[in-house]
């Protein structure tokens, strides 16, 4: 044994105990203990409240014009007014009723369509797989926003078409992930066992495979919410989504860009977009890390 006095030996073991205790408290924290997740949830909760209580929070109507054009932030207009004298704060609050629900709807649609296609491709393989995956590759070949622009422009500028455009751009990632999850699940012995007791392929896919792939897909959808918000706002910014006078955040940033020296017109909607995207990303990351870091990190 090494030459150590009682006092020294104790401190080596104590130090080890201390280090272990610290690592223990970090390692198995539940999702609620992760600071970023909490921040993200608070922000989202805040926006949900804003959306629900908009008519009561906002002093003015979102389309209400006043004579006070391009007024800087003041006690009367917390975020100032825009080129038509509309209160920016009210418009930002009402904007949450557009961007956020649409982003969620968009992700839901894209994930369902994408997962379905990807699942079928993964399970059936062969020609079906090839065809579906080539369509996915086609979409991947384009930069997302460019393709979305093209589709939105082709369909005609409107909020509804912007949503469709983003769905077209967003579904392939779900298809690809789902396909690879199904490919590996398909070979699992519990799937084979269920086939041996007389399950058809379809039964095996729905009762055995699907429950096991729902988790990773949900995490992916959460991570994609941030992207969906950005793309939607981006299309509106370019004039291909929400049309004036809707208080959609992206469109508001666009009008802010036309009047740079009136910094308040574009900044606040921009910050709103930023906060929403960050919040979705924080939440998504934390869920990913809690559920199964190894599997889900491989997804992105």
């Amino acid at each position: 044994m090494s030459f150590m006095t009682g006092g020294e030996m104790e401190s080596a073991d104590d130090r080890a105990d201390h280090v272990l205790a610290k690592r223990q408290s970090v390692a198995f924290r539940s999702v609620w203990r992760r600071p970023l997740a909490v921040v993200g949830l608070l922000i989202v909760a805040g926006w949900v409240l804003a959306a629900v209580l908009a008519p009561w929070i906002a002093q003015y109507g979102p389309l209400q014009q006043t004579a006070d054009i391009y007024a800087p932030p003041s006690a009367d207009h917390w975020f100032g007014t825009d080129q038509l004298g509309r209160d920016v704060f009210s418009r930002v609050i009402h904007g949450s009723r557009i961007t956020l629900p649409l982003a969620v709807m968009l992700v839901a649609l894209a994930s369902v369509v994408g997962s379905l296609l990807g699942g079928i491709a993964g399970y059936l393989s062969g020609v079906v797989d090839e065809v579906i995956m080539r369509f996915a590759d086609l979409v991947f070949a384009f930069p997302a926003i460019i393709l979305a622009m093209a589709v939105a422009a082709a369909l005609g500028p409107s909020l509804r078409n912007a949503v469709l455009a983003v769905v077209v751009v967003a579904w392939p990632i779900y298809a690809r992930v789902m396909r690879s999850l199904v490919l590996s699940a398909r070979e699992m012995e519990y799937v084979l066992a269920s086939r041996l007791t007389g399950a058809s392929s379809r039964e095996a896919l729905f009762s055995e495979i699907l429950p096991n792939v729902a988790g990773p897909i949900t995490v992916l959808a959460m991570l994609e919410l941030g992207n969906a918000t950005l793309w939607l706002a981006g299309l509106s910014f370019l004039g291909l989504g929400a049309q004036p006078p809707h208080p959609e955040w992206g469109a508001m940033v666009a009008s802010g860009a036309l009047a740079f020296n009136r910094w308040w017109v574009g900044l606040f909607p921009g910050l709103a977009i930023l906060s929403a995207v960050l919040a979705f990303n924080f939440i998504g990351d934390s869920f990913r890390d809690t559920l199964d870091p190894r599997i889900t990190r491989a997804i992105r």
Binding site: M1, A12, A16, L20, Q24, V26, A27, F28
Partner: protein, 330 residues
Amino acid sequence: MNELLSVRGLRIRMPGPHGPMTIVDGVDFDVSSGEVLGIAGESGSGKTMTVLALLGLIPPNAVVTGTATFGGRDLLSLDRRQLQQVRGREVGVVFQDPMTTLHPMVSIERQLTEHMRRHLDLGRRVARVRAISLLEEVRIPNARRAIEAHPHQFSGGMRQRIVIAMALACEPKLLIADEPTTALDVTVQAGILRLLDQIRRDRGMAVILVTHDLGVMSSLANRLAVFYAGRVVEMGPVKPLLQDPQHPYTKNLLMALPHPQQRGQPLQPIPGTAATPDARPPGCAFHPRCQYAEESCSIKVPSLMPVSDTRLSACPVAPFAGRALLGVEG
């Protein structure tokens, strides 16, 4: 006896889902030059973590205490750079899967000579000659051609031989082999066991052999340390230990294995399931499964005590155990 490696009080703990877990709970053992120490145990017994700790390869959130004295230094307190010096140069390692050691894209020559050249400061040509002779030592046919090839061109058994050659490259004093033949077919395993035996004799190396397979232990090991739930429960020369086990776990384990004489009769499993690190029973970890357990077994952790002049056992109550030479009370 030269003790090449002396491990005292090795404890490895890690964060776990229900609180910190103790993977290895105060393990002591020695290895002398020229001897093969077998570390036997099933999965979850802590045997692999023990040797990983010696090599500095435990997971980053594990906490290690204790000492492992090797060549005058404590392996457990070396920093990364010092460990790199020891690993490869003084301690060679063979793991279960050769493809975790061999780089699939690099030629055999480069893999063999790379750390030879770094540790021993050899020129390229000298290193190459040594590499060829190492491949011949591990019985790779056509060593001169083999050296230009890549791992995927070899079978599993051949790759493991190459890994052994790499482990020997810098003439280490100690070889650590963790389940070196578990992934191999039995006829290929036989060849590797013979090779390891030969090499050990030729070079006078010490070997730590970690495996769950008592047949492999029986062929190669001189002394055996049996691990259960992170502790050593029995230790001694291999032949008397396997033929006359003193600890109930060892005894039960041997009874559960098939025996040629018992053809046609049922095998004898051990009741219960193996203790896992996050749910270790109090007192003696084996007591819930032990047919000789008494009340004291669930209270106090028995320490490893001599039961003869060469055998240690951590069971004070087994009625079948001899308490011969030292007059130790049972």
